[in-house]
Symmetry: C3
Subunit: 467 residues, 3 copies
Amino acid sequence: MSLTNRSLVTIDDLSDGEIEALFSLADEMAESPADQAGLCQGKIMASLFFEPSTRTRLSFEAGMLRLGGRVITAVDIGASSLAKGESIADMARVVGSYADIIVIRHPWEGAARVVADYAGVPVINAGDGSHEHPTQTLCDLYTIRKEGRAIKGLRIALWGDLKHGRTVHSLIYALARFGATILFRPGPGLEMPKHVLTRLSTEYKGELKTCRNLNQELDRKLFPVDAIYVTPSSPHQLAMLPDISVGVELKAGIDALYVTRLQKERQAPTAEVQELEKGYPVVDKKLLKGKEFAKTLVMHPLPRVDELTHEMDADPRSMYFKQAAYGVPIRMALLAVLLGAKEVTIPKEEDSFIPKIDHPVYKRDSGVKCPNTNCVSNQETEVRYIKPEFRIVSRQPLTLRCIYCDHEMHPQYVASSEWHQRKLENKKYHSADSHFAHKIKPENLIVFASEDEARAQQFKPSSHIRP
Amino acid sequence: MSLTNRSLVTIDDLSDGEIEALFSLADEMAESPADQAGLCQGKIMASLFFEPSTRTRLSFEAGMLRLGGRVITAVDIGASSLAKGESIADMARVVGSYADIIVIRHPWEGAARVVADYAGVPVINAGDGSHEHPTQTLCDLYTIRKEGRAIKGLRIALWGDLKHGRTVHSLIYALARFGATILFRPGPGLEMPKHVLTRLSTEYKGELKTCRNLNQELDRKLFPVDAIYVTPSSPHQLAMLPDISVGVELKAGIDALYVTRLQKERQAPTAEVQELEKGYPVVDKKLLKGKEFAKTLVMHPLPRVDELTHEMDADPRSMYFKQAAYGVPIRMALLAVLLGAKEVTIPKEEDSFIPKIDHPVYKRDSGVKCPNTNCVSNQETEVRYIKPEFRIVSRQPLTLRCIYCDHEMHPQYVASSEWHQRKLENKKYHSADSHFAHKIKPENLIVFASEDEARAQQFKPSSHIRP
Amino acid sequence: MSLTNRSLVTIDDLSDGEIEALFSLADEMAESPADQAGLCQGKIMASLFFEPSTRTRLSFEAGMLRLGGRVITAVDIGASSLAKGESIADMARVVGSYADIIVIRHPWEGAARVVADYAGVPVINAGDGSHEHPTQTLCDLYTIRKEGRAIKGLRIALWGDLKHGRTVHSLIYALARFGATILFRPGPGLEMPKHVLTRLSTEYKGELKTCRNLNQELDRKLFPVDAIYVTPSSPHQLAMLPDISVGVELKAGIDALYVTRLQKERQAPTAEVQELEKGYPVVDKKLLKGKEFAKTLVMHPLPRVDELTHEMDADPRSMYFKQAAYGVPIRMALLAVLLGAKEVTIPKEEDSFIPKIDHPVYKRDSGVKCPNTNCVSNQETEVRYIKPEFRIVSRQPLTLRCIYCDHEMHPQYVASSEWHQRKLENKKYHSADSHFAHKIKPENLIVFASEDEARAQQFKPSSHIRP
């Protein structure tokens, strides 16, 4: 499948093979940048940043310019049309008629998907709220690869603000897909959101272990992790997941340490934030003296604040400035393929590839809304045209995942659209965990946010529901 | 007359023939965009936006880049030099020495004219307060033409905020010149300003009918308009204006419906605005079901808010995204001709063309000021060098139109500079509507804002003025 | 010494010969701008403006584009990474990996030096707080040269805000080096900072005369200056500085009048500022009628406010719009040489050149800090990695000049690192003006901000210091 004219909204929009192909092309871009100056001649990239950013925007723009393309930029949008009450769909359609490709950063989760739906040209997500930041993930993986490490079997520790960091969320799915072992070391109160963990354990075939007592086990020899995710190193062993010994894993050393800063701007500036700041773990020379860090790649998506000391900058293990620098060739490669200026050969997937699960879609107008207030589907200017839409990722417990922001919800009441002879008295709603509920075919499923909602739509409680 | 090196400040800066020529060139630009990539090589466009804008700025920039030119952009100017108290004339002179052409948007009415006066390079007005936005008008007219409709005889309804919308003000003069019939459908309290209506009826040879009772006449078959402006369909019939039957006009259908949003940002955010918002008329599928709208082009300069529902987006009558998309070829054509990169053949004007009236200019230092507080000539930083200047557009009643913002004023007192033997006792001032006043030649006319002003300049009341 | 890959942080980074070479290249750029369009093809300039600016930024960008290069711009940085707490060193390293050259404006004094230290690519200072603005100085000197005047022996008066104007600070050192006679005409309360005057008189071999009674001497024939700096017109006469007669100097006329505006944004907006504004001297036609101004070049770095009246704009002596226009060829020349796209021949220095003094460097961690609160070395985000560093520019009185912002300090206590046998009882500190202090070799000098600081580092008072 060609990459031309496609969009990159989440890291899952790319298969493992496509990612590998992009990396090969990025190598080419980095090796002979001057040869690329004609690739995107005559093409225009629009860079639309609804949130301030220097690094990401400038690297996209530098990438496009090095390909011979041109750039139109709007960083002031928050203050302009949007303030006038315009929907992002309108904005997408209009800018899509000016430019050949759009790069967008937006504070709302799912905004990039909406833009991709309406722009009529390829769209790249440069960060949507706390949701995803897939090109950062490409830089991260590429850095690991350039250092000669394989992702499969990589032991990587994620450090810091695992709650708000979108770079971590995009990264973790890719790591799982490629078969890495992931250790979680959040700051207190900054644990990985439940929906990410759930997705990890249900969709990527690895095993998630929470480690309440890890501290004791490790006898303070390592930083305290609160969970480990292990994917089998060989696809043929999927069925016989080893009972991982954390001790063993750690003794073998940490291959990579992925540090992130506290995303203060995603939180109300309260005393609570100061609390989080105080307890935030710091990576410094002292910590990295440990034997398990001897060959650790120290990574950071930048900007950093105090969580990674400047004394590490000259250390050969420090990768973060390289990560940033790789942003240009990676984005050059991505822009070139999406614009059709370059074709890549996608390596044939090995059978090890974790196949994408095609969850049934739920998009009835039955009153359910995404629970995430920051989701694009809940914004005043967007509800005019966006209808909530979910993937039914599990029936037991019933789990709907928002197609925009990936937040999950567990509705308590359901019905079937196959009521008998369409008579009102047969329109019954059921408890979502009832025997009857499980038998409803996905295409017939009706989901209610509450009993009130069910009744408002003329459904009556089934006999198993107490009044 | 060549378009090279000229500026476009108001739509009146272009003759009908020049507009036609631009449209033919825009066709060429749209048909083979890749062929234009060398036209403006080596040229630099400065885009100076003192007010936030995404759409207009990006389409200008995309246009210039597609012509092979380069762009320097300042969207942060409000916060920089201006805040330091610099005049826009200084800014114009400086940027004029960096760039080959300037595109400017500014909140002050008349600002673009000042920039054009001082820049030394062509200047394009991309919106000056509530005054004009001539390139939007070009897009609007071009859209109509591309749909195979002629402007001459076009029945177009203007909808919404006719008071603040600069796009409507630029559009209306062009429509009148080309001979359209215009129906006004303002939101309550958002009627077309009086000076625009006056100008319409005095300068463009059509007839303006205000329709207080139109509602009743139409028996609610159509939306309530408050005025209709009809230009004779044939120039040879100028003398025999038909007694227009509104019923007839409407039965024949509306050719175009030009919807605008409430320009909230041009008003103090008071309870009054909320009132305006509440009464604002909405265009939706239901309205457009009417027979008279069967072939109506639904237009909107965007951004839209709630006045035009999203459900119309897929409707074949909806033109607004096309209007926006045409912004690029139209602006390419304009940039190319003003920069002298392309010559166009101006069609010989038919005798139908409504000739521009050359009103005498008034620029004495006699104390009269433009009544518009938002006019560039009234700003603290600009009065240092701008002298008020007017066109005397009528003598009965005496009407002065500001050359910067087109607002009109009716001074009550005048004098003649030909006082007898220059003796003080002969310096008399008169009532502007007196017999004597009408006899003063325009070049001798002295106008006073008040009796006090006249006296301050050593003039005495004539015998006809009561003490 | 080639200019390729060098940075321009202060005007002292360029020798007189290098400045002359740049001017010759600027002539070439101005004469045939079209021929330069291939020079920087494929090169990217990053323009990083942490303070609003239109003029300077746009002229850099126009220059780069006219050289065929491309530009990435961030004017919103204040609001982005920086707000997230990132250091400018990190920002410099990252952007240095995207772009081939960086132009930076920053409110902190010394920020440009830090960026140059970390970027890995050439860096141009486009203004750092009240410190320097060297490319403006190049434009100023170039303007004078283009008008056929030599800097050597030029009689130039500096007018207005000599306290905060960074353009004046960069200019004055260059003027002194080239041998100009400088008259100071500050607004009341806006005198040239003492450290600038000290440096002038100690480093550039000219003589500084303060003129308290000049007003009386001149009998109001000229504007009141408060100091004159005279460099000998011939280098061979260094030893025999004439006793300058101010009367004589002024009778010969003023060659150039360099007007600056009140830098309100560098001050708290208090009643005091209003006071300064009221007393601010104005340059107008009346002043310039004086015989001594008959051939005066009237200069201004712009933006101007009220200190230089618009009536002067058409006067042939007015140079300020030319100064601004020269910004493009000057910056083209600079960009081309720093990027190695053009080699220049540096004229052999005459023996007249005032040699740069190589002051010893002080960078011990002994508690001394730059006294300038706006210095980059004192900022919360930067102290993580910046260590204070000074040049010891004088021993009597002991004077340390901050290498970042050039502010000077006079520490009161010193010690020697050569204490006897490294025994604690031999670690003594001394008064900085004591006989013993003067004998300490620069490389052994330890400087303390206070006695407390000395004691905190286990030094004891020498017997000459009273308890």
